[in-house]
């Protein structure tokens, strides 16, 4: 008979039913432990990284953020605002440095250096810890480290003040190293308005985005403009390197007006004396006809190659944040090539790109990689990493660079760029006035690119590019020489002055 083995089981060793019930409880315990292990160990990193999990944000804002330094002084700070996301970013001279610092917002994330150097500033960079894996073991975060920039505060301030509220941008670099000395965009905004999680932050964000002046657009690196006549530096370099022009003072045999190849479109000049002008004269007075013809004669291949050696069509430039691609079309017919060679048609460049061109001329023909971060340090100032200057490419032969320096100096001393002259220094420059808009109806952009070498210096100390979007005054009077050159002069003077002060 199949006896039930319940409570009354007299079998020594106890009652199997109770033991089975106990086994069930043990099974439940095992299930709990296995599942807890799954959640806490195996799935942990997936849950930690879920964007809806606010813990990383809380940890991120739980300690003061590291600072961004200009000339050894912090231009950022942290304010304890209490609450869940405790520390808020503050900025001294926010609008001035916004194109460099970007913002660090609890709500809208980070941009510019705040973004690319976030690991250092937020203290998550493992190199900030005293020992490898130290933070993982102790479950702590290092104090936020500092980012030392290459900026020259005086130059930055000079550029911003010289722009004087007009829309435009300035980029200045040290030709021999690629250190970025100034990076200004106007109109600008105060990134401090976006710090924190108050209601005013959302309002500021909406207002800044709706603003027709686009204050959050970093014009120095994220906006491309038709470079206009400043591009003639590239065309001249190509003509010299390709052997199309062998003597700066020889006639270029160019007609005025110039008929664009295969068309009846007449290209004219604002300057006089461009017919059969020499390259030196044409550069000095910015003859469109001469450079359109030279570009066409150099040919698409050589023009494209030279432009790309200067940095056009490069999508990968980082300073360390990304720079918009400057473009020179690879497929052009004759008339398009002629127009592109004077910086019109589809040729577009960022102000930083144009500063790199001026820098290449000043730096014997090679383009230095521009960079903004000199080094990163721990909170106490010990260097964590440092940026080594490096050369991107050789854009032209040293002889061509020397010839261009000569012509650029002429342009400042005798030609269109006289507003850029600085006593006690050699300045070379090139003006540009770029047409744009449908049927060239928009207010032209005023350009100026230049470099300067103090008389007692071994090499040029600064190269700069300036663009002014809404240059004041009537159309036709606007010119790179009139509107942009004085701005470039202020920046260059500020750099040379501070280099003299520091004995550099």
């Amino acid at each position: 008979m199949n006896l039930p083995r319940g409570l009354d089981s007299a079998r020594p060793g106890g009652t199997p039913t109770i033991q089975r019930a106990a086994a069930l409880c043990a099974l439940l315990l095992v299930a709990l432990l296995v599942n807890a292990t799954r959640v806490q160990i195996f799935e942990a990193s997936r849950y930690d990284d879920n964007p809806a999990n606010r813990r990383q944000m809380i940890a991120r804002y739980g300690a003061p953020r590291g600072d961004i330094l200009v000339d050894g002084r912090a231009v950022t700070g942290s304010r304890d605002a209490g609450g869940m996301f405790r520390y808020e970013r503050t900025y001294t001279d926010g609008p001035l440095f916004a194109p460099v610092t970007g913002f660090a917002s609890q709500v809208y994330g980070t941009t510019m250096l705040e973004d690319t150097q976030d690991a250092t500033l937020a203290g998550t960079d493992p190199d900030l810890a005293p020992f490898p894996l130290w933070n993982d073991v102790t479950r702590t975060r290092s104090s936020g480290g500092n980012v030392v920039t290459t900026l020259n505060g005086a130059a930055q301030r000079a550029a911003y003040q010289a722009l004087g509220g007009r829309s435009g941008a300035v980029a200045a670099i040290e030709p021999s190293t690629g250190r970025i000395l100034a990076l200004v965009s106007a109109p600008s905004y105060d990134p401090g308005e976006l710090s924190g999680s108050r209601d005013s932050v959302a309002r500021a964000w909406e207002r800044l985005n709706a603003d027709a002046g686009k204050p959050m657009l970093n014009r120095a690196i994220r906006q491309t403009y038709p470079p206009g006549s400043t591009f003639k530096v590239v065309t001249a370099a190509a003509a010299l390197d390709a052997g199309v022009v062998r003597d700066l003072d020889e006639s270029t045999n160019s007609p005025d007006p110039y008929l664009l190849p295969g068309t009846t479109t007449r290209l004219t000049n604002e300057a006089r004396g461009c017919e059969d002008a020499s390259l030196r004269y044409a550069f000095e007075w910015s003859c469109n006809t001469v450079f359109a013809k030279l570009g066409f004669e150099v040919g698409l291949r050589n023009m494209t190659q030279t432009a790309e050696r200067f940095g056009f069509n490069d999508q990968k430039l980082r300073i360390p944040f990304s720079v918009a691609q400057s473009t020179f079309d690879r497929k052009l017919d004759g008339p398009q090539l002629a127009l592109s060679s004077i910086g019109q048609f589809d040729t577009r460049a960022t102000p930083l790109q144009m500063a790199m061109i001026a820098g290449a001329v000043a730096g014997d023909g090679s383009v230095s990689a521009p960079y903004l971060v000199d080094r990163t340090t721990t909170k106490s100032g010990d260097t964590v990493s440092a940026t080594e200057p490096r050369t991107l490419r050789r854009a032209m032969s040293p002889a061509t660079a020397a010839a261009l320096r000569e012509m650029m100096v002429n342009a400042v001393q005798e030609g269109t760029g006289q507003n850029a002259m600085i006593p006690g220094a050699t300045v070379g420059g090139k003006t540009g006035t770029a047409q744009h808009g449908v049927g060239n109806s928009g207010t032209p952009y005023a350009w100026f690119i230049s470099w300067a070498q103090a008389d007692d210096a071994m090499e040029p100390g600064v190269a700069v590019a300036v663009v002014v979007e809404d240059a004041a005054g009537e159309r036709g009077e606007i010119s790179g020489g009139g509107d942009a050159a004085p701005i470039a002069r202020s920046v260059m003077r500020a750099v040379l002055q501070s280099q003299r002060d520091t004995g550099g």
């Binding site: 039913t17 089975r20 409880c25 315990l29 299930a31 599942n35 807890a36 990193s45 849950y47």
Partner: protein, 459 residues
């Protein structure tokens, strides 16, 4: 450790086998209990200090008072046991003290995040009430068999307690609260103990009928309606009340308790089959009909659905985030962010705080403490000779086991989440009081179990 009275040795004692003298005296182990209680109080105080040091950098001002309070309560309980249950299992009381102490620490820690809503003082007050009732039960209940007389009183009282909240307004979607004079009482908690007494009493009396009569269908022995009727009726009624009150956790608990005790009492696997069948049918029906339950199941299957929908993480997702943040060793007391769970962080989701701040290590330790508590309950049951005591011990221990599983499994995403209190840890006066009564009854039963072998014990 071989305990005298282990089922393998009924009526014998290994340590006296080679002892010629009839010295029939069992070790009472009250000293062990005392030492463990001191340890439990010290661990709790250490946790309390750790919270203050981590959050404010100083030992909290109330640390000494807190330690003294918990210590006095534990000591009083210990004295009562010494006095009236000298043979009781020495682990039961220390485990309860430690769990209650850790619970107070966790609630105090969460109070720091909600300055306007402090729950720890109330919890300490209810713990005092719980210990007072513990002492009362140990002192006044001379033998667990007394309870058998009140089998049917218990069921009537349980049903009354379960029905009462229907007449009170619902709180957070569940009609399980009584609000009297500013205090919220959850009668369902007390009903658990009463139902365990009833099930034990009824099944002890009717186990033969349940086991031997009835029809045989295939390999299952199905009981006759006459025997089964009352039990099923009571069960259906209590579950019905719970579905009406929308307290599914307790409903699940009653069902599990019922099936376990039925199986233990009769040894019929048929009951397990019938139970599972009923459970599946009930789950499907309730899942279909109740949108509340349906949503819980959907949350369990897709805990991050609300994030994908752009509404932000729900409580279960936040709970999983908290456990994940804890990792193996935890963030340390006071350094986690389980408060993000929001509503019910101190009650249903208290385990998430433990998981985040104490890590998998601390969580496992807590699970093992519960397991030990359950194991001691089962052991007391196994050692007893009378069927009622056996069933009562196993019923009470199973309540703890099932409750821990239902809520811990719920907040860690193992099973659909149902609102329930983690025994001793969670904020909730009724729950703490009930759990102290359960431990008191287990102490009483374990005392009977061990003293029955002791020649010197006074019956």
């Amino acid at each position: 450790m071989i305990e005298p009275g282990t089922p393998g040795l009924p009526g014998t004692r290994t340590e006296t086998d080679d002892a010629p003298a009839p010295a029939l005296r069992l070790p009472r182990r009250r000293g062990v209990e005392f030492a463990l209680i001191v340890l439990a109080v010290l661990i709790s105080m250490y946790g309390y200090c750790a919270v203050g040091l981590a959050t404010q950098g100083t030992v909290p001002p109330g640390a000494a008072r807190y330690g003294a309070g918990l210590g006095v309560l534990a000591l009083l309980a210990h004295c009562a046991v010494r006095l009236r249950a000298p043979y009781a299992d020495p682990l039961l009381l220390p485990i309860a003290v430690l769990l209650n102490g850790v619970g107070l620490v966790l609630i105090y820690r969460l109070d720091l995040e909600t300055p306007g809503d402090r729950a720890a003082p109330t919890q300490l007050y209810w713990s005092t009430v719980g210990v007072a009732l513990f002492i009362a039960v140990v002192l006044l209940l001379r033998h667990h068999r007394v309870l058998q007389r009140y089998t049917y009183v218990c069921v009537v009282a349980a049903l009354a307690l379960l029905t009462l909240p229907i007449f009170f307004p619902a709180v957070n979607g569940a009609r399980i609260w009584l609000r009297i004079a500013g205090f919220s009482i959850q009668p369902g908690e007390f009903a658990k103990v009463l139902l365990a007494v009833f099930f034990a009493g009824y099944l002890a009396a009717n186990r033969h009928a349940l086991a031997y009569t009835g029809r045989r269908v295939w390999r299952l022995q199905l009981p006759t309606g006459r025997v089964l009727g009352p039990v099923v009726a009571i069960w259906l009624l209590s579950v019905g009340v719970l579905v009406l009150e929308r307290d599914l956790g307790t409903s699940l608990l009653f069902f599990g308790l019922f099936v376990v005790l039925l199986y233990v009492a009769t040894g019929r696997t048929g009951w397990i089959a019938v139970g599972l069948l009923l459970a599946v049918a009930g789950a499907l029906a309730v899942g279909r009909l109740e949108p509340h339950v349906h949503a819980r199941v959907a949350d369990w299957l897709h805990p991050f659905a609300s994030i994908d929908a752009g509404i932000g993480p729900n409580q279960l997702a936040q709970s999983l985030f908290a456990f994940a943040a804890g990792g193996a060793l935890g963030t340390g007391l006071g350094l986690g962010h389980s408060i993000l769970i929001g509503f019910a962080t101190k009650s249903d989701f208290i385990l998430a705080t433990a998981g985040e701040e104490l890590g998998l290590a601390g969580l496992s330790a807590l699970f093992l403490l519960y397991a030990l508590l359950v194991e001691r309950g089962y052991r007391a049951g196994l050692a007893l000779r009378d069927p009622f005591g056996r069933l009562l011990a196993i019923g009470l221990a199973s309540i703890v086991a099932l409750q821990v599983f239902v809520i811990a499994g719920g907040v860690t995403g193992l099973i659909p989440l149902t609102g329930m209190a983690m025994p001793f840890l969670a904020q909730g006066g009724s729950s703490v009081v009930t759990n102290w009564i359960i431990v008191a009854l287990l102490i009483r039963i374990s005392d009977s179990a061990r003293s029955q072998y002791d020649g010197t014990a006074v019956p």
